[in-house]
Symmetry: C2
Amino acid sequence: MRKPIPMRTFNRLVDILKIIEQAPDKQSFSSGDLALELGVSDILIRKDLNSIGLSGRPKIGFDRTDLVSGLEGVLGYTRQNDAILVGCGRLGRSLLDFSLLDSLGISLVAGFDLTPSKIGRLEILPLTKMPSLIKRLRIRLALLCVPEDSAQATADQLVAAGIQVIWNFTATTLHVPEHVHVHQEDLRLSAAHVLQHLHREEQ
Amino acid sequence: MRKPIPMRTFNRLVDILKIIEQAPDKQSFSSGDLALELGVSDILIRKDLNSIGLSGRPKIGFDRTDLVSGLEGVLGYTRQNDAILVGCGRLGRSLLDFSLLDSLGISLVAGFDLTPSKIGRLEILPLTKMPSLIKRLRIRLALLCVPEDSAQATADQLVAAGIQVIWNFTATTLHVPEHVHVHQEDLRLSAAHVLQHLHREEQ
DNA sequence: CTTATATCGATATATAATTATCGTTTCTGA
DNA sequence: TCAGAAACGATAATTATATATCGATATAAG
């Protein structure tokens, strides 16, 4: 079993795959090319890629096919993961529009909301049906987009029904048991970075 | 002039302020408390806070008022920054709902879209009027939420009109001149982290 | 008024992340 | 076929980041 990938390396691997996908015509990529776009040294790029078993060829670089299959494998984009969308207000719906989810291996199998309906192909069911569906389909991932004041209560329900990973789009910090992982989608942090750049210019 | 804050430290400062805001009753916070929530050592928390000129008192900790004013100052939440919203589809509108923007010192003064309208108090103007408004009000920040295929072209217009920071909610990598900063809101990266956790459980 | 304890700040140490150096390989063009 | 350049990989050095240690200080309890 391979040892866990350091977070910084992991982030760069994601970026590298993105660069590759945005240059569909290039057949190979040198560490120098990639390094330049990411703002790090070519040495580091090679180390990152070597660490997941990819190697390049002198004078050529890294082969596109190798990179894509290697990176997608490591990042888990190849498997298909069922997920549910909890809370289908504006934010929830805009995630549905976000076709990238599919290409990353996340497929939404149902939505839940107070008011049931149907959006495109996706059935929006009443929240009361959530626990049974999670159990029946063994869903492990939930995207949480409910209003702030019901975020924790809904998370509790998700946990009780057996959800293992919650992708939290609310600003509320969720308290969950040890074995459940919350990924916080934090606009605050982004906002702070944006402000920092605004103010840097000012001086 | 204070030297720039390291990024890791900066991120922790954002987190610390969030913790404080979520405990409105506490009058003081020890480095140990904060460290526990952030999953780092208390020493590091003290170093972070010391580095922005905050000091605590033995046996007591750091005073709430000091922390809030110090952190908000450094993070830039206290000033008011005008910004525009470009592209008012579902994602754009869900950002309007996101009241946190205000509390972070970002106030949207206008929206732009192909089809003009009015959302709440916010005027949504046709895209043709964008350049003149940016210049007239000296807007420096734009939130970009247009469809992928017009992202770069719109960014070019923003740059030409004098925008200095673009908060990019599209998945498209933007190419801009040196002096313009793009902050990429990257769901890809988040998705990758989420997948990683899903798969970790699996093994 | 004294003692015990929680917490601080400063300095030193340890760990992690990044870059530099150098020798090697493979393609290109004379 | 051979010289030169572009890119690689491995190891060493550097820099950045985080933790440990320790003496000092302020509160609280007796």
